[in-house]
């Protein structure tokens, strides 16, 4: 990280709350869903940030805020210094050319009545490219994502799931973006095909210096592409750590739990498996627990966890975690911890 260059993307205290209304005829009370709750991070040019968490943790809502597909209820998102959250529709169009999105379900996100040449070509035309060049460039893009350029006149349904995801990536690449937000891009794919797409994303990044935000529901798929990984729980970032450090020495107990939950081979003679790794299920984002949101499920939780929300602390090795009882750290590392400027505003000191 160089200090002089501004980050590509900077999210400051982003919050997305929305109200839901009870549909009972006699009870019209409302509740607030805290989908994203004071999340801050920065992303450098060419960097990949993995965003991981279970369903309901706010990872997809966060991704939508970054493209302003949803407008945050508080906080700002700056892209190359421009505030996306307050940008005019006109300015937003310019920014959206630089920030693209790839969705989980390639089937639903590609217009079934358009040929893939048109799907990919649209982004090219938006840049003022015309005529034959559109077709030529579209062919090149298809080749880049590992599809046969001769298939340019086919429709999305003629492709398999993995191929459709490649079309989605080609479409995103067409406008030559500097950041692609990938929302669970491989979750719907078979393992062998999943690996193809992950490798493709890796190659594209090496070649063109793209930055990614890679949203996923488990830690295994993001490992291969991520430089840093943010773990979210109930609308908050609980850990934000360089990737390999996270896999070997998770600081937050929730990260450790996520890692331990990935099924692995049982040791010889071990019959009954490992038992339950984490008890309980995430709380409802309408009614978040007091203090640390993970405390009802955490095996290390003490009284302070139920009362005080832990601030996001920065530990040596650029590891950020919000926990009163961080794991895998030496006493000296804990002593060197300082409150991170990315920490949510409301958190108390301990």
């Amino acid at each position: 990280m160089t200090v002089s260059r501004p980050p590509l993307l900077e999210a400051k205290h982003v919050e997305l709350h929305y109200t839901v209304r009870n549909t009972m005829v006699l009870d019209r009370s409302t509740a607030t869903v805290r989908a994203v709750d004071d999340v801050s991070f920065t992303l450098d040019e060419g960097e990949t940030l993995g965003v991981v968490g279970e369903s309901g943790c706010g990872k997809t809502s966060l991704a939508r805020c970054l493209l302003r597909l949803a407008t945050p209820t508080a906080g700002t998102v700056h892209f190359r210094g421009h505030d996306i959250t307050r940008a005019s529709p006109r300015a937003l169009r310019g920014i959206r050319r630089e920030v693209q999105m790839v969705f989980q379900d390639p089937e639903a996100s590609l217009n079934p009545r358009k040929r893939i040449g048109q799907i990919v070509g649209l982004g090219l035309r938006l840049q003022g490219i015309k005529g034959r060049e559109v077709t030529d460039r579209a062919r090149t893009l298809l080749g880049q994502v590992g599809l046969d350029p001769e298939h340019i006149n086919r429709f999305p349904h003629e492709f398999s799931g993995g191929q459709r995801q490649r079309i989605g990536i080609a479409r995103a690449l067409a406008v030559q973006p500097s950041l692609i937000v990938l929302d669970e891009p491989v979750s719907a794919l078979d393992v062998s095909v999943q690996a193809q797409v992950i490798n493709l994303l890796d190659d594209l990044k090496d070649k063109s210096g793209l930055a990614y935000i890679f949203v996923a529901h488990d830690l295994s798929v993001v490992r291969h592409v991520s430089d840093r990984i943010a773990v979210m729980y109930l609308g908050k970032i609980v850990e934000l750590t360089p990737a390999e450090a996270l896999y070997h020495k998770p600081v937050h107990p929730y990260t450790a739990a996520l890692l331990a939950s990935v099924p692995v081979r049982r040791r010889a003679g071990e019959r009954a498996g490992r038992g339950v790794v984490v008890k309980g299920e995430p709380a409802n984002p309408v009614n978040v627990p007091s203090g640390c949101r993970f405390h009802p499920r955490c095996q290390h939780s003490t009284e302070i966890c139920t009362l005080v929300e832990p601030p996001l602390m920065r530990f040596p090795g650029d590891r950020l975690a919000a926990c009163h009882h961080p794991r895998n750290l030496s006493d000296s590392e804990v002593a060197l911890a300082v409150r991170s400027p990315l920490s949510p505003l409301s958190t108390g000191g301990a």
Partner: protein
């Protein structure tokens, strides 16, 4: 409601040949009479003032029709028992037979019974109601005197005659709806058949009968019931115009028909508003019913 009343009012303002003063005055009217009528009825005022005046009369219950100059609300009240009788009987008939035929069609999907019922439903849906009415009237009342020719007898006056007078109208009105409902239910059920929970029901080792009744039919009925509520409201709101006219039931629908033919704006306006009100009311009731029928609605919206 407001939009509907405005829309209806202005539609009849722009219809050619619709000057109400001329109609009120009659054919041999002198210009003086016409001028007097225009003055007393306020036709010279701006359109929006006329509209407001009319609305005020409606809500104070003093609105009067152009043609016979009788109170519109009392006219509607007079027609209501016939219309409600028609709607209740027909509603029960079409719901019952719609379910029976739709369900049997779905159970036998693709086979002869299903195809036959499909053709029957198609014929039912595509035969205009007044044709069914007229033909049945001809055969069962005129040629063979099973049922009376037309008219309405209040229930409390003579329940048997009430019933006999209504059998043919009920039947005529139901035919279209039975055809429609049975098709809707059939396709709902065939969709439900592919639901995961029906597969679970099979995997549980339930009998076919139980799978169909408890799992397929029950979930498929929910949208049909809400549809029924709206159609039922429309009939009470005077929507069964043709049947009421053919059988001379003298209900709300027939009153609407007469008013339209004489371009009598106040009753049309009132009936349209009353019908719209009923539909809105029933839609709200259906929403409440949904909460009972479909537990999913109770929490998340």
């Amino acid at each position: 409601m407001f939009a509907i009343s405005v829309f209806t009012f202005f539609i009849f303002q722009v219809i050619p040949n619709g000057d109400p003063a001329l109609r009120l005055a009659g054919q041999s009217a002198t210009p003086q009479t016409i001028a007097a009528i225009i003055k007393t009825w306020g036709f010279d005022k701006p359109v929006y003032v006329q509209y407001l005046d009319t609305m005020e009369k409606i809500f104070t219950g003093t609105v009067v029709s152009y043609s016979q100059q009788v109170n519109v609300l009392s006219q509607i009240q007079r027609g209501l028992p016939a219309t409600i009788s028609l709607a209740l009987g027909a509603g029960v008939i079409w719901l019952f037979w719609g379910i029976v035929l739709g369900a049997s069609s779905a159970v036998r999907a693709g086979r002869f019974t299903d195809r036959l019922l499909g053709v029957v439903a198609l014929v039912g849906v595509s035969t205009p109601t007044f044709v069914v009415g007229a033909v049945s009237l001809y055969f069962f009342a005129y040629r063979v005197h099973i049922f009376p020719l037309s008219g309405y007898v209040p229930f409390f006056q003579d329940p048997w005659e009430w019933f006999m007078h209504l059998v043919l109208p009920w039947f005529s009105l139901s035919v279209v709806y039975i055809g429609f409902y049975s098709r809707v239910l059939r396709s709902n059920m065939l969709d439900a058949l592919h639901e995961d929970f029906v597969r679970t029901a099979r995997a549980k080792g339930l009998t076919q009968r139980r799978i169909w009744l408890n799992h397929v039919l029950r979930t498929s009925l929910i949208p049909v019931i809400s549809l029924w509520g709206l159609d039922f409201a429309a009939v009470i709101g005077g929507g069964a115009i043709l049947v009421e006219v053919v059988f001379n039931l003298d209900g709300v629908g027939e009153y609407a028909a007469e008013s339209i033919m004489t371009l009598d704006i106040p009753p049309i306006l009132v009936i349209v508003m009353y019908g719209a009100f009923l539909v809105v009311l029933v839609a709200a009731l259906v929403d409440i019913l949904y909460v009972v029928l479909d537990p999913r609605v109770r929490l998340n919206g």
